[in-house]
Symmetry: C3
Subunit: 673 residues, 3 copies
Amino acid sequence: MPRLAFGGDYNPDQWDRDVWREDVRLMRRAGVNLVSLGIFSWSWIEPDQDRFDFSGLDEVIALLHEGGVSVDLATPSASPPPWFSEAYPDALFVDHLGRRLGHGSRQGFCPSSPAYRRRTAVVAARLARRYGEHPAVVMWHVGNELGGYNAHCHCPTTAEAFRTWLRARHGDLDGLNRAWGTAFWSQRYSAWSQVRVPGSAPGRLNPAQQLDHYRFASDELLACYRWERDIIRRRSPGRPVTTNFMAGTFKWVDYCRWGPEVDLVTNDHYLTAADPEAHTGLAFSADLSRGIAGGRPWLLMEHSTSAVQWQPRNTAKRPGEMLRNSLAHIARGSDGACFFQWRQSDSGVEKWHSAMLPHGGESTRIWQEVVQLGAALGRIGEVAGSTVAGEVALLWDYENYWALEMGGRPSVDLGYAAEAEAWHREVWRQGVVCDVVPATASTDVLSRYRLLLLPAHYLATPETVRALTAYVHAGGHLVVGPFSGLVDRDDRLHPGPYPGALRELLGLTVDEFLPLRENTTVTLDNGLTGRVWAEAVHPADPVGAVRTAVDARFADGPAAGGPALLSRRAGTGLVRYAATRFEGASLRALLAGALDGAGVGSTAPGAGDGVEVVRRRAQDGRSWLFVLNHTEDAAEVVCGGVELLSDTAVAGRLTVGPGGVAVVRESGPPDAG
Amino acid sequence: MPRLAFGGDYNPDQWDRDVWREDVRLMRRAGVNLVSLGIFSWSWIEPDQDRFDFSGLDEVIALLHEGGVSVDLATPSASPPPWFSEAYPDALFVDHLGRRLGHGSRQGFCPSSPAYRRRTAVVAARLARRYGEHPAVVMWHVGNELGGYNAHCHCPTTAEAFRTWLRARHGDLDGLNRAWGTAFWSQRYSAWSQVRVPGSAPGRLNPAQQLDHYRFASDELLACYRWERDIIRRRSPGRPVTTNFMAGTFKWVDYCRWGPEVDLVTNDHYLTAADPEAHTGLAFSADLSRGIAGGRPWLLMEHSTSAVQWQPRNTAKRPGEMLRNSLAHIARGSDGACFFQWRQSDSGVEKWHSAMLPHGGESTRIWQEVVQLGAALGRIGEVAGSTVAGEVALLWDYENYWALEMGGRPSVDLGYAAEAEAWHREVWRQGVVCDVVPATASTDVLSRYRLLLLPAHYLATPETVRALTAYVHAGGHLVVGPFSGLVDRDDRLHPGPYPGALRELLGLTVDEFLPLRENTTVTLDNGLTGRVWAEAVHPADPVGAVRTAVDARFADGPAAGGPALLSRRAGTGLVRYAATRFEGASLRALLAGALDGAGVGSTAPGAGDGVEVVRRRAQDGRSWLFVLNHTEDAAEVVCGGVELLSDTAVAGRLTVGPGGVAVVRESGPPDAG
Amino acid sequence: MPRLAFGGDYNPDQWDRDVWREDVRLMRRAGVNLVSLGIFSWSWIEPDQDRFDFSGLDEVIALLHEGGVSVDLATPSASPPPWFSEAYPDALFVDHLGRRLGHGSRQGFCPSSPAYRRRTAVVAARLARRYGEHPAVVMWHVGNELGGYNAHCHCPTTAEAFRTWLRARHGDLDGLNRAWGTAFWSQRYSAWSQVRVPGSAPGRLNPAQQLDHYRFASDELLACYRWERDIIRRRSPGRPVTTNFMAGTFKWVDYCRWGPEVDLVTNDHYLTAADPEAHTGLAFSADLSRGIAGGRPWLLMEHSTSAVQWQPRNTAKRPGEMLRNSLAHIARGSDGACFFQWRQSDSGVEKWHSAMLPHGGESTRIWQEVVQLGAALGRIGEVAGSTVAGEVALLWDYENYWALEMGGRPSVDLGYAAEAEAWHREVWRQGVVCDVVPATASTDVLSRYRLLLLPAHYLATPETVRALTAYVHAGGHLVVGPFSGLVDRDDRLHPGPYPGALRELLGLTVDEFLPLRENTTVTLDNGLTGRVWAEAVHPADPVGAVRTAVDARFADGPAAGGPALLSRRAGTGLVRYAATRFEGASLRALLAGALDGAGVGSTAPGAGDGVEVVRRRAQDGRSWLFVLNHTEDAAEVVCGGVELLSDTAVAGRLTVGPGGVAVVRESGPPDAG
C-alpha cells in the first residue's frame, strides 16, 4: 500500500488495448500509485456464464505493475451482465411498486438472491485465485456502493429472507407481535407466512415493521459483502478487503455496523453542486468516515476532479478547489485521495462526469491540477497513519435516521440528517473539528470528548442513555436537541412523561410538542430565533426533586413564557436542552455557548470564517496543521514549523492566499485543538 | 344514550389487563359516558379464522358497565387481520396502478369482495349475538370511516360488480352507450364483458364512465355498511346503528345518500393544521353533518384533543381551543363531543396523535382540559335534542364535486369544494349561520330559507332546477356562482346556450367562458375583484323576452364592458348571478349584499369578527346561545338569561374573554337569527 | 382539393341523423369546403369485429357531396373499439411502469402489434374500396396525431420488434455492443434475446440504447402510417394521403423523416394558453411544418376557434384572434385553415374544447367569426400554392432533441426545444421570417440562406458538419450556441478537445463546461447577461494555427475573463459562437447583431413590435404581404397594391388597426425580405 494513495477507478474494458499503455504512462506522470480496477468488468471477464476470459485483465495488471501502480482489485458484483438476468430472472430487483426491474443500468439484482450469491462467489473466487497473490494487487474492492439503487427489494425471495431474519431477532410470533405492536389496527400475525416486507398497503405502514425492514435490508447487503470478503480472504492473505461506503446522508446502510467488517474504511464523497458551501458537507462526510473507522485512518475512494453528471445542475470545481477538497479529506484522516475515475468515459451514463484525464486530454486545466495534486501528495506523504481527534463529537445513528424520518411524526420539517449536518456545519464555522461518532460508542470513547452533541435523538436505547449519563456525571458536557429520548428500538414510547429515556438526565418534563406552521418562527427572550418546533417544558423532573435552570424563555409562539433553553449540572458535568430548533446564526450562538462552556476553542483562533484548519497527529508526537482557505481573501494562521507543499519554514505566522492550502509540520508544542 | 355524549375510541386490546381498570377509573374522573369500543379489534377477537376469543371484550364491557360508561360497540371490519389476506388474496384492494395491496396498514380490502362480506357477516353476527342486548351497549359502530383508503378498487371482482350496477342503472348496452356518449372516440361497447372500471388508459377517460364509477363506488361502500347494519339490527333491537362519516371535503362517499341509512349521523372532523382559521372549516363540516342529518341532532364521533400525526406539520391546540372546538360542534347540532382516542397509543402509526389521556398522563395540560370539558358538558346537558336552523343555506352535492373536479374543464382553479368552503366561510365571518343542505333537498326544505347559495353548480338536474325555480318564485333569494347549470347526470350538455338548465331562471345567456391566466385578476366597475374566471354574458334570455339587471360590469379583462353581476326578479323572489369567481373581501361583499337583500342578519350583531355565535332551539321554545370567542380580545354579545358554564345570570350584555366560551340559556324572546 | 381549405374534423357519429342536414346547411353558410370525416368512427362503421355498417357514412358523404363540401376521409385507426381490446388483449399498450392499459380513452394500442396492423388493414381496405373513387373524397387522413399517447410501448411484442430493428441497424451483436458502449457498467449482450426496450432498471439507462429506442419508436409509428397509406393508394389513385403532425415541441416522432412519406404535410397546432405571446409559438410550429414540407405549401389540419380543454387554464381567444391565428398559418405557407372540430361535442372528454359551431349555436361570437373567416379565406384564395422563403433558418433535429434532454447532461436548464423556440421568437420579434429546417438538409438547401442558427446542437453528424462547413466557406453566416458539436449518433464523444466535431469550423477549444447554479447569471463585458451556462474557451484551435476573434468576455462568474462571444471568418463566411446561454433582451441583441452582420432585414422595417409581416410569393412573380397586428395600437406598414380582405388599393402606406389583419397583393417589386 502506498503512503498516501492517489489514483482512481480504472475501467480498461472501455478502451482499446493501445490506450492502456498511454494510461500507464500518464498515471506515472501524475504520480498515480493506486487504481481501483475492474469495478464493472463482469461482462468483460465472464462474457457468458462460466466462460471466462482474463487475458485483458492479465495484461492490464501486468502493465500497471510494470508502471509501479498498485491495484485495488474489484469484484465485479455491482453490475451483473445481461446473461445473468436472462439466466436468473428471479434474481432481479423488484421495486416498491412491485415491478421486476431489469438490466440496462447497474445494481439490478436482489441482494437476498441465492443465484446472485452463487454467481458472485464463482467470479470472486476466480479472481482471488488468479490474482490473490499478485504483487501488484494490494487491496480488494468488493462490489461498489452497495445498496445505492437496490437496497429495498420487494421480491418473494426477500420476503422469505426477511422472515428468517425476524425469527432470529424476535424468536417467535409472540415476540414479533409484541415488538411490532400489532394490536394496533388489527395486525396480529397468526402464522409466519403472513409476514411481509412493508411496501404496498392502502394506508400508513407499521413503523416497527419498517424499522426492522431497514435493519434487515442493511444486514442483507452486509451479508453480500461478507460473502465475497470471506471468499477472497481465504485466497489472498494479507491484503485488506473493503467496500466503498457513501457515508454522509446515504440512508439505506448502517455503516456504523459495517465499520468493523472492513479492513479499511473507504468512502465516496461528492459535493452538492447547488450548495455554495458544499465543503462543509464534505467535512461532515469525512468526519463520519473517521467515526465509522473508530478514529483510525480511512481512505477517500472516490471523489470528483470537477463536475458530476447526476445532479440537476452540475457545477464544475473552480481552479484550486479539487486540491482543497482532496486535502480537506486528508486533513480529516483519509490516507489518500482517489477519484471516480481515471479516464473520462466517451460513452454511457457517466461520460459527463469529470475524471482525472478529461475528454480534452493533457491540455486541460483539470489534468494540470491532477498532476499538481499528485505532486502535492508526494510532498506530504509523511502524514500517512496519523490521526485526527476532535474535542467535540456529534453522535450519529442510522436507526434514528430511519425512525425520525419515517412519517407520522409531529413535523416533516424536523429531519435527522439535516439537523446533524446543520449542527456540524455551525461547529465547523467556529474553527472546531467536530468528530461524528456512532451513538453506540462506548463510554470509553465518549469520555475522550469535552462536549457531545445530540441534535435530534428520537430513538434512545438504554445503552445510549446509560453511556450519556455516565459521561455527563464524569464531567462531560452534552447538548440535546428537541424531540429526543422518546422511543425504544421498536419505535415504542418510553413510559412516563416526555422526554422518556432522557427525562432523568435532562431533569425536565415536556408536556407537549408544539410544531410550528411552515415558515413561522418563535423568538426567545435572549434574542435567538427558533423555527419548526417548540415545546411546552417544565424545568423539573416529574416529582419536582430536580429543578433545572432556565437559560432562556420563549417570548412568543405556542410556548410563550415557557423555557426554551435549559441546563442542568449533573455530577461534575452539564447537560443543555434546546426546546426549539435553531438554524443559522441562532444555532451558531447555541453551539458557541456550549463550546465555550466546555472549554473547546478553535484549532486556529482568529483564522477567520471559511478558513478550515485541522490538525493530524502521529503517535510519535509529530503533528501537521492543514490550512484550507475557502475564501477569496488571504488568511493568516498562527503556527510554526515547515510548510510542506512549498518546503518553507513558518515562524509564528502563516499566510495562505485566497483559495490556497498549506500543510505545516509543526515544530513547537501545538496549542490546544 | 347519554344526554351529551362524551368519550372516545377505546382500544383495550393495545393494553394490558391492569390498564383497563385504570382506564375506567380515569374515565369516571373525566365524566366520560360513552366509548366506541373495539374498532380495530378483529385480530383480537378472531385471532385466526373461526377461532373466537371474547374473553377480553367480555371483561372490558363488564368493567365499563360497572363504571357507568356506555358502549358504542364497533364491528371490526375496518381492518381485516393478516390471516384474512392469506386466506382470501382475491379480496385485497387493487390500486389505480393495478397493484394488489396487502395488510400492514388498514382497510386493505376490496369493498365488493364476497369473501370480505362473508367474513364481516360472521364476526358482526357473533358480536351482535353476544352483546346485542347487553345493557352497556347503547349503540353500534359499523366499521370506520368507510372508503378512507380503499374507495376505488381496480380488481376483477369490482369490475364485475360495476357491470352489475350499470345493468341496473342503464338497462341494456344501448342505454349505457347513450349515457356514456361512447360515440366519442369510438368507445361503443358491443358486449358487457368489455366494460371496465375506469383507470388505466393512455389518455383522458370518459367522464360519464367516471361519474358512474364514483356513484358505484359510493354505493358499494354503502352496501358494506347496510350488510352489517342489517345483521346487527336483527340481533340488537332498539340500539341505533351508525357508521362514522367524514363530512367536509372527503370526496369518495355521497353522504347525502347515506344520511337516511344511519340511525344517527355521526361525524369525524380534524382541523387543517396549516390554516390559522381552521375553525371555519370545522363549522362547514358541522353544518354539513347537520344537513346530512336533515337538521336533526347528530354526533361528533371523532375529533382530537390536540395535534394529529398525519398532516405535514401537526400543530397542537392552544389552551382553551379544544373546548371551543367541542362547543362549536355542539353549537351546530352535535349532541356530544367524542375523540379519537381515549388513551394515546404507545406504538403503531398513530402514537403521535393526541388523545384524551396523553402519554404524559394526568399531569398534562390536555388531561386537565379534558376533565374541564367533561364538567362543561355536564353543565350544558339540557341542550341535547335541540336543533339549529339557519336562514341561509348553501346547497351541497357530491355529484357536482365529482363532475366539476374531473379534469378537462376550462380551469383547474375552479374547484367545487374549495368554492363551497369559501362561500360558507364568508357567511360565517358575517356572524350568520349557513346551513349546508343536500342539493336534492325538497322544495319544502328549501322554502325554510330566506337565501340559498349555489357556488359552482356545474351539474344541474331537472329536479334541482324545478325546486330552485319554485323557491325563487315563492319569494326566495338565490345566488348562483359561475359555470353553473351546464350538464346533466351523465355530464352531457343541456341543450341550447349556456347556462343550460339555469338559463331560464337566471334570465341570461353566457356566450363563452373566459378563464383567466394564473394569478391574474379582473376588476369590476363597482370595485370588486374577480379571479380565475370571467364570462361573456348577455343580460337577456335567448329570445330577449326577459331582461336581467346588470348590477356591475367588468372594467377590464377578457369580458371588459360586459355584465359581471346580474340580478333578476322572478315571481316574488330574486336571483343573482356572478359571472366571475370572487374570494376574500370581494366574496364577502357579494354575500353581504345578498344577505342584506334577503333580510338575513347576524345572530349577534356587533359581536365582532372571529366571534362565533350560534343558537340552538328546543321544540318547547327554550333556546341557547353559544358564544365562542376565537379572538385574542374580549367580546361582548347582547343577550340575556343564564350562562350555564359559570351558572351566572346575564342581563343584556355578556362579556366573553379572549378565547373564551359561553352557553346562555336565553330568557327573553330571542332576536331574529 | 379546394384552393384554400376551410373546415374541420367532422364526427357525425356523435349526432342524430337530423343534425347532419343542419350541419351541411351551416357549413355552406360558413363557406366550409373540406371536412376531415370519421377520425374516431371505428366503432360506428365496424361495431363488432367483421360486422360493418357503412350506411351512416354513405349518407353523410352523400349529403356533404350535395352540399359541395369535400371530404378528407379518415381511417379510424386512432381509436380501436372495445371489442378490439377484448379480442386482442396482447395488442394493448403497456406503459413505462409495465401496466397493460386498456380502452376507455383513445390510442390504447401497441404500434408494433400485428393484430392492430391486421385490423387497421381490414378497415382501411374496406373504406378505400368503398369510397376510394367517390367524387367527394379528395384526400385521406390516416389515423390521428400518431404516437400522441402511445409512442413508447413496453410490451413483449415491442421488445421483439426493437430487436429486429436493431439487427437491421447494427448488423450483429458486436455492432450493437460497440454502438451502445456496453463495456460501461457491464452491459455487454451475449445473445439478442437479452436486448430490451429501455424502461425499468434501478438506475440511469444507457443513453445510446435510449436514442435507438426513440428512433425505433418513431419508425414503428411511421410503419403504421405507411401500412395504411399503401393500402389506400392502391384503391384510391390520385388522392393525396397524409396523417396530421404535431410539429412544434411534440417529441416522440421524427417528423423530419416523416415529411417525404406524406403527400401533403398537415399539421395540428394549439396555442399555449399560459403564454400571452403564444402567437410566436404558432409561428415556430408553422415554420417547422413548412421546413418539414421542404418549403412547399402545407395544410393546417387542426387548430381551435377558441379555448381547448386539456391545458390547466384554457383561456379563450379574444375577438379577432382566431382570424389572426388562421392567417398567420396561411402567411407561413398553409393552404388553408382547418379546425378541431366542426360541431362542439355535447359529451365526452372534449366537450369543453371549442369548435366552429359552439354549444350556443349561431348566436355566438365564435360562430360569427367563423363565418367571417370563411369569407376572408374566399377573398384570398389566390395565395394558394405560393410559398414563403426566409433568409435565415434555424436548424432543427429530433435526434438532438432526444439526446440533449435525456438526463445526465451538465444542466437540466439547457433544453433543446426551449432553446430553439427562444431563438426563433427573438428573430420573429425583429420582423424577420425564420425558416425552421431539418438539420439534415442538403448543402443546396442551406445555401439559400444568409444566416443559419444552431442553438444547442449537441449531437453532430459528419454530414451536418460537412454541410455547415461548406455553407460557411461559401459565404454563409452561422451562429452556434453552447454545448454543440460534441457527440455522434450513438451519444459517443467525438474525439479530442471540445467542441468535438465543430472544433475546426469554430476555430476554438472549450476546456470545460461551467453550468451555473439555479437563478444565477453571468455578465459579459459588453453588458449582455447569460444564464444557466458558461464555458472556459480558448480562442484558438488546439494547435494554435487558427485564432478566433473574441467579441466579448465574461466579466464575472466561473469563466470570468474568458471569451464569451467569438467569431471567425472561414472562407468568405463567418461563424459565431456563444459560450453562454442568453434569453430575452440579451438573446435579442445577439441575434440582432447576427442578422445585421448577415444583411438580413425586417420584412417590413418600422412596422413595430408585435406586428407580424410575412410575404408569400408565387412562381409567376406575384407576391402577397400578410400583416397581422398583435398589438393594441394601430400599425403602419410600407407597401403597395391591393388589400384583398377589404378589396381596397394601398398606395405606399397601409394602416392596420389594433388586432387587425391585412393581405396585400403587392403591385411593385417587393423590397428585400
